[in-house]
Amino acid sequence: MVHTIWFVVLSAMLAGYAVLDGFDLGVGALHLLVGRNREERAHLIRTIGPVWNGNEVWLIAAGGAMVVAFPSVYAASFSGFYLALMLVLWLLILRGLSLEFRHQIDNALWHDAWDVVFSGSSILLALLFGVAFANVLRGVPLDAQGAFQGSFALMLNPFALLGGVLGVVTLAQHGASWLALKTNGELRDRARRYQRRLWGVTTAAIAAMVAASFVVRPDFTRNFLAAPWLSIVPALAIACVAALRLWMGRDDRRAFLASAGVVATLIGSAAAGLYPRLLPALPGSAHPGLDIYNAASPDGSLRIALGIYLVGMGIVVTYLWRIYRIWRDT
C-alpha cells in the first residue's frame, strides 16, 4: 500500500515540476519568437521572474523523493544516463545564469547574448526531458544487478526522439498559454497566435506518441483493462486538450489551467500505464525491470518519509498558493 502511495506521490511531484517549470521552459522556447526586441524580451522574462526559481525547486524535491523512496531507481537511472544527465545539469546552470545575470548589466550585446542562451537552453531542456520520459516508457537494458550503461545510440531511438518533439511542443504551447495570460496588447496577440498554432502541433504529437506507445510497449493497455476506472486519466487529458481549444483566445486564465491540465494528465496517463513499474527493462534484459517493490526503500523508511511529505507539502502548498496570488496581477 505504502509503495503505491509513493508511486502516486512521485508521479505527482514530477507532474508538479512539469506543470510549473514547464511554463517557464516554454516561455524560454518562445522567447526569441514572441519577444521581437530587447524591451519585449525583458518583459517576457519579468513574467517568470518571481517564480522560476521556486518552480525549479520541484525538481530538487522530486529528486529527493526518489532518493528516499526508490533509491535503486535513482541509482540505476542517474548512473545509466550519466552523460545525458550531466548535459541537463549544464543546461540548467546556463539557463539559471541567463535569468540571474541578464538584467544586471545594461548593455545591448549582453542582453542579446543571454536571450539566446536562455532560449536555447530552455528548448534543449524540454527536448531532453521528453527524451528521458520516452526512454522510461520504453525501458532500458538492465543487467542482473539492475544497472545499465546508457549511450547516445540507446537513448536517441525514434520513439525517444518523438518524445523529445512532444516535450518541446507541449511545453512551448504551455509557455504560450502563460504569456497570453500575463501580457497585454501586441505581445498577447502574438502569444495567442503561437498558442493556436502549437495547439494543433501538440495534439498531433500526443496522438503520435500514444500510437507509438502501443507499438513499443504492447502491454501498455494492461492496467487500463484490469482497472477500467484508470481510463479517467487519459479521458481527462482529452478533455483538457478540448477545453484548451475552446478557451484559448477567449479566456486566458481558463486556457492556461487547461494547458496545465494537459501537461499533468499526460504524465498521469503514462504513470497509470506504467504502474507498478518505474524503470522497465527492454526485452532480453537479465533483470525483470525495476518496480515499486524491488526498487523501494525498506517499509519503515517509506512510512517515515510519507509522514514528512504530507506535513511538508501541506505547508508548502498553502504558502505557494498565497504567493502566486501576490503575483496574480503582474
Binding site: A42, I45, G49, P50, N53, G54, E56, V57, L59, I60, A61, G63, G64, V67, V68, A69, P71, S72, Y74, A75, F78, S79, G80, Y82, L83, L85, M86, L89, W90, L92, I93, L94, G96, L97, L99, E100, F101, H103, Q104, I105, D106, Q145, A147, F148, S297, P298, G300, S301, I304, A305, I308, Y309, G312, I315, V316, Y319, L320, I323, I326, W327
Partner: protein
C-alpha cells in the same frame, strides 16, 4: 583505488567546494538581513530597511549562483555514487527530501516576495518574508549538515538486506555528532556574512562615499562578526572537536599530526607531518593540551596514527593542514573583530584607516576558513563514506568509468569558471553602483 573512484571524488570535491562558497554567504547574510529588517520594522529605522534592500541584491545573486551549483550535488549521488544511494538512500534521502520540502521551497518563494514585493504587500508581510528567507537558508543548512552528520556517525538505523534502513527519524535529526557541528557551521557562515558586510562598508568609508550606509554596515558586521567568531571557537568549535576525538580517533590524530599513542598528548601549534618517518617535523607543541581537551585530564592516553591500521587512516597531511588553516584564521578573525569592536565602542573605528583596510582585505579569508573546516570533516572521514559502514571505494557507480567522470569534471570546471567570473563581475558592479543607485531595470 580505481580511476573511477579518484575521478568521482575529485569531481565531488570540486563541485561541492565551489558550491559551498555561495551558501556560506546566503546563510550569513540571510540572518543579518533578518536583523536589519527587524530593526526597521520594530524600531522604525528606515535606514536599516534601506541597507536591507542593498544586501538583498547581493543575497539574490548569491542565492542564484548557489541554486545552479547546488543541483549537481544531489544529482551526483545518483550519477557517480549509485552504490552509496542504494545503500544509504533510505536514510540520507530523508534529510535531502526534507531540505527540499521544508527549506528550499520557503527560501526561493519568499525571496521573490522579499525582492519584488515591497510596496505590493503590507510591511508586516515584507518583514515576515525576510525572516522566511533567512529561516529557509538556516534550515536548509540544518538538513544538509544532518545528512553529513549521519555519514560521520550513523545513528537511528538498522542494516536490512545489505542496506541501511531508518528506524528513528528523531535520532537522525538529533544525532549527537550534529549538536556542535551544526552551530559551528552556522557561526562560520555568519562570520562570513559579517566580514563581507563590514568589508564592503569599510570600502565605502575609505572611498568617502555613501558613508552613512558604510558606517551602518561596518557596525552591524563588526558586532555580528565578534559574536560569531567567538562562538566559532567556544563553545561550538571546542566541544565539536572533543566529540570528534571520541567518535573518530583517526581524524583527530590526523588533525593534530599525532603519531605516537601517549599520555599527556600535546597539541601542535605548527609543524609539518612526515608520514614516511612518522613524525611531526619542526613542531611547536602545547604539552598535555590534547589529552586535556579530550578527557579533561592530562594523564589520559590518546591514540596516535601508529596504532591505527593504515587502511583506516585518512590522508594525514591534507587533514592536518586544513585543520591548522581553519584554526589559525579563526584566531585572526577573533583578534580583528575584538580590536574593531573596541574601536567601535570608543568611537574611533570609522576613522581608523588601518582597521578599515584590514576589514576590507579580510573578506576572502572566512571563505577559506569555512572550506578548510569541511576538508577536515570530509577528508578526515576517509576511507569511509559512511563511517564504519561503507567504504568510499565501494560506493561508486559501477557503470560510470573514470574517463566519463573526468570529461564531465572538465565541463564543470569550465562552466564554474564562467559562474565565478559572472558572480564576481556583478558583485563588484552592485558594490560600485552603491546603495543609492536606482536599479536600472526593475529586478528581473
Amino acid at each position: 583505488m580505481t580511476s573511477a573512484v579518484i575521478a568521482g571524488r575529485v569531481q565531488f570535491a570540486f563541485t561541492i567546494m565551489f558550491h559551498y562558497l555561495f551558501p556560506i554567504l546566503t546563510i550569513g547574510l540571510g540572518v543579518l538581513i533578518g536583523v536589519l529588517k527587524s530593526v526597521e520594522f520594530f524600531g522604525g529605522r528606515t535606514e536599516y530597511g534601506h541597507a536591507a534592500r542593498f544586501w538583498a541584491r547581493i543575497f539574490a545573486i548569491t542565492f542564484g549562483a548557489g541554486v545552479v551549483t547546488g543541483i549537481p550535488m544531489e544529482f551526483q549521488f545518483g550519477t557517480n555514487w549509485a552504490r552509496f544511494s542504494h545503500f544509504a538512500g533510505p536514510v540520507v534521502g530523508q534529510t535531502l527530501f526534507m531540505e527540499g520540502v521544508f527549506a528550499f521551497f520557503a527560501e526561493s518563494s519568499f525571496l521573490g516576495v522579499f525582492l519584488l514585493g515591497e510596496g505590493r504587500v503590507r510591511p508586516v508581510v515584507h518583514w515576515l518574508s525576510a525572516l522566511m528567507v533567512g529561516w529557509g537558508a538556516v534550515l536548509s543548512g540544518y538538513f544538509i549538515v544532518a545528512t553529513d552528520a549521519w555519514m560521520q556517525h550513523p545513528v537511528g538505523y538498522q542494516i536490512v538486506g545489505g542496506r541501511a534502513e531508518l528506524t528513528s527519524l528523531w535520532a537522525l535529526l538529533t544525532n549527537p555528532y550534529l549538536r556542535w557541528q551544526y552551530p559551528h557551521v552556522v557561526a562560520g557562515s555568519i562570520v562570513t556574512g559579517s566580514m563581507v558586510m563590514a568589508g564592503v562598508g569599510a570600502y565605502y568609508l575609505l572611498s568617502k562615499r555613501d558613508e552613512d550606509f558604510g558606517r551602518l554596515s561596518v557596525r552591524v558586521g563588526v558586532i555580528g562578526g565578534l559574536l560569531c567568531s567567538l562562538t566559532s571557537l567556544f563553545p561550538t568549535g571546542s566541544f565539536h572537536a572533543e566529540r570528534v576525538s571520541r567518535l573518530q580517533p583517526a581524524k583527530t590524530a590526523a588533525m593534530e599530526g599525532l603519531f605516537e599513542t601517549r599520555r599527556g598528548a600535546p597539541m601542535a601549534i605548527s609543524g609539518m607531518p612526515d608520514t614516511d618517518a612518522k613524525r611531526l617535523l619542526d613542531p611547536i607543541l602545547i604539552p598535555d593540551a590534547l589529552s586535556y581537551l579530550m578527557y579533561g585530564t592530562a594523564s589520559a592516553p590518546v591514540t596516535g596514527l601508529n596504532d591505527i591500521p593504515p587502511d583506516e587512516q585518512p590522508p594525514v597531511e591534507l587533514v592536518y593542514y586544513a585543520y591548522h588553516i581553519m584554526v589559525g584564521l579563526g584566531t585572526i578573525f577573533i583578534a580583528l573583530f575584538v580590536l574593531s569592536a573596541l574601536a567601535l565602542w570608543r568611537g574611533t573605528l570609522f576613522t581608523s584607516k588601518a582597521l578599515l583596510w584590514a576589514l576590507m582585505l579580510a573578506m576572502p579569508f572566512p571563505y577559506i576558513a569555512n572550506e578548510a573546516g569541511w576538508v577536515v570533516a570530509e577528508v578526515g572521514r576517509q576511507p569511509w563514506v559512511v563511517y564504519g559502514l561503507l567504504r568510499t571505494t565501494a560506493a561508486t557507480s559501477t557503470n560510470v568509468s573514470g574517463g566519463m567522470t573526468i570529461f564531465t569534471l572538465l565541463g564543470f570546471m569550465g562552466l564554474y569558471l564562467l559562474v565565478g567570473a559572472l558572480y564576481t563581475l556583478v558583485f563588484l558592479r552592485i558594490v560600485l553602483q552603491g546603495p543609492n543607485a536606482a536599479t536600472t531595470e526593475a529586478h528581473y
